[in-house]
């Protein structure tokens, strides 16, 4: 019967009459201290500008833990003797989890040793001894060594050293995430998990909570998604475009689209190939400029059929986004430098076939020949 938990150290000795020896701990190893043991030499240069390091091999990780409240004195002595004989001691933080165990070699105490009276229970004649254990493969101990009822826990931003994570991405189409604060768009390297920042109060931010962002495979069907000055984009009507505007990435890669005429509708468009069948999602970072109304559209290439039409209405720099065609699933989240990311999904009643061509349009004014004004844009995406 243990005082706390259900931990044990188990070993097998041919010299013993039992099939195996089990030292049931009154409590899991206490005062647990992860440790490492690497033969290393360090030296400063004479002027102290350089510090040199020499190491031998990879060393070994170890664990310091104290056996507390031991009332099976001889059993504990036998355990230490077995360890000093080089036998493998297997530590079970909880016998309820037979799969969670650590095969170790005892590094210390080295014989001859003495059991100390337990600092908390000495008047009851109980003992304690600190063990230095090393896994037989010299690897780090996993988090379950504590012997508590907690089997696993993880908070976004914690180490993924023990985890397996993959997301192969190319430098030409990197994965991105939003940073702390108002969400600077940041790129992540291949196979690096993204710690994304979200706002828990509203889409307006600021972003205060880290989350581990896990997403499915997606293709952005728009070419030159943030370079609106290339031949992949087509100017119509009275639209003009100018580059080098402040962007949500902390740079100056955003563009200003201006419709200066009330006699012709100005828009910027690109014909894109739908990457997969079904509904399509169009998104774009937009910041307020001189126009109070902006529009995002997915249409057939002849503009005869509209699959998604989102209308942005600006008031004091705060947008309202409404779907005139298609569906909006969430309020546009805010990003750095006054940008919001607007996203709209095409209507479920008009699914598109994979490989179909659609026309994506960005319109800086009210949708009609009577409007004019400008909008700031960055990072369009059709997926």
């Amino acid at each position: 019967m243990a005082y706390f938990g259900n931990a044990a150290l188990i070993w097998s000795a041919t010299s013993d009459a039992n099939t195996q020896r089990v030292h049931q701990l009154a409590a899991p190893l206490r005062l647990v201290k992860p440790s490492e043991n690497l033969l290393a030499f360090q030296a400063d240069s004479l002027d102290r500008t350089v510090r040199d390091y020499w190491t031998v091999g990879a060393g070994a990780y170890e664990l310091l833990g104290t056996v507390k409240y031991s009332y099976h004195h001889q059993s504990l002595v036998d355990l230490l003797r077995a360890g000093n004989q080089g036998l493998t001691l297997t530590y079970y933080p909880s016998l309820a989890d037979s799969g969670t165990n650590y095969a170790c070699k005892l590094i210390s105490p080295v014989t001859p040793f003495d059991l100390a009276l337990d600092g908390d229970r000495e008047r009851f004649g109980e003992h304690q001894v600190e063990l230095r254990l090393r896994l037989t493969n010299q690897a780090p101990f996993q988090p379950l060594m504590a012997g508590s009822d907690v089997l696993f826990r993880f908070n976004a931003g914690q180490s993924l050293a023990g985890a397996t994570f993959t997301r192969a991405t190319s430098t030409s189409a990197p994965a991105t995430y939003a940073g702390l604060g108002y969400g600077t768009v940041t790129t992540a390297k291949s196979n690096k998990a993204r710690v994304d920042w979200i706002s828990t109060n509203s889409s307006q931010g600021p972003r205060t909570m880290p989350v581990l962002l896990l997403e499915d495979t997606r293709t952005n069907a728009i070419k030159d998604s943030a370079n609106f000055g290339t031949a992949n984009w087509t100017v119509a009507g009275s639209l003009s475009r100018s580059s080098a505007k402040t962007d949500p990435k902390g740079g100056t890669a955003a563009w200003k689209l201006t419709d200066a005429s009330t006699s012709a509708l100005g828009l910027l468009s690109q014909v894109a190939t739908v990457p997969s069948s079904g509904q399509q999602a169009l998104s774009c970072f937009v910041a307020a400029s001189t126009s109070s109304f902006n529009h995002l559209l997915i249409q057939s290439t002849n503009a005869g059929t509209t699959y998604a039409r989102g209308s942005i209405t600006w008031s004091s720099g705060v947008p309202t986004f409404t779907a005139q065609q298609g569906k909006i699933f969430s309020a546009p989240p805010r990003y750095s430098n006054g940008f919001y990311r607007f996203g709209i999904i095409s209507a479920s009643s008009a699914p598109l076939a994979a490989g179909a061509k659609v026309k994506v349009s960005l319109i800086p004014s009210s949708e009609g020949v009577g409007g004019k004004g400008s909008m700031l844009v960055y990072g369009a995406q059709l997926e």
Binding site: A96, D97, A173, L212, G379
Partner: protein, 186 residues
């Protein structure tokens, strides 16, 4: 098909593809009475395919395993499957809304009864009906805890704030303490 807007994928003079994120953790705990907790922000609309929020005991569809999912038979569902594929489940029809902060707390009893609790935006936990009993398997298919997918399929686009597993059937308050989310707003 896209029922959600995913994170931005910059492109040059060609379309660009971002591959899926795959994340799993080692977990050596054997099948027993336990509680699995996941707090995440929903990133996709409900689909006819069950998406994997988190799964204990397998990185794919090999049984036995315990899966917390979205979609299919219920909006949120916790399912225990034994080696033969026999399943017991507890499902909730709480709304799946993009941007919602969801806490799923699923328990397995010592007799294999599954029960799911769902909390939306730190509101009141809604408990789904408990399942029938199913004898616990002796081992899981693998000693893994996978988050957000079944490897290459059933990807649940989401931002995961906290995950925790503990022995016994623990309350939402206790699982929040273990997961360390009580001190955070939202």
């Amino acid at each position: 098909m896209s029922l959600t807007v995913s994170s931005y994928i910059p492109t040059g003079n060609a379309t660009g593809t971002r591959n899926r994120d795959q994340c799993s953790f080692p977990l050596t705990a054997i099948p027993q009475a336990l509680t699995v907790y996941a707090k995440f922000r929903v990133g996709n609309a409900v689909t006819t395919t069950q998406l994997c929020v988190a799964q204990l005991g397998s990185t794919g569809t090999t049984n036995p395993r315990f899966i917390l999912g979205i979609g299919s038979t219920a909006n949120y569902v916790a399912t225990l499957r034994n080696a033969a594929g026999t399943a017991v489940a507890s499902g909730s029809m709480a709304a799946v809304t993009i941007g919602t902060m969801v806490e799923m707390r699923a328990t397995i009893s010592a007799t294999g009864i599954v029960q799911l609790g769902v909390t939306l935006n730190s509101g009141t936990e809604a408990l789904a009906a408990a399942s029938a009993a199913l004898a616990l398997p002796q081992t899981w298919a693998s000693q893994k805890f996978i988050v957000g997918s079944l490897g290459a399929t059933n990807v649940n686009t989401a931002g995961y704030a906290a995950l925790a597993i503990a022995r016994g059937g623990l309350s939402l308050t206790r699982m929040r303490q273990i997961a360390g989310v009580l001190t955070r707003n939202g």
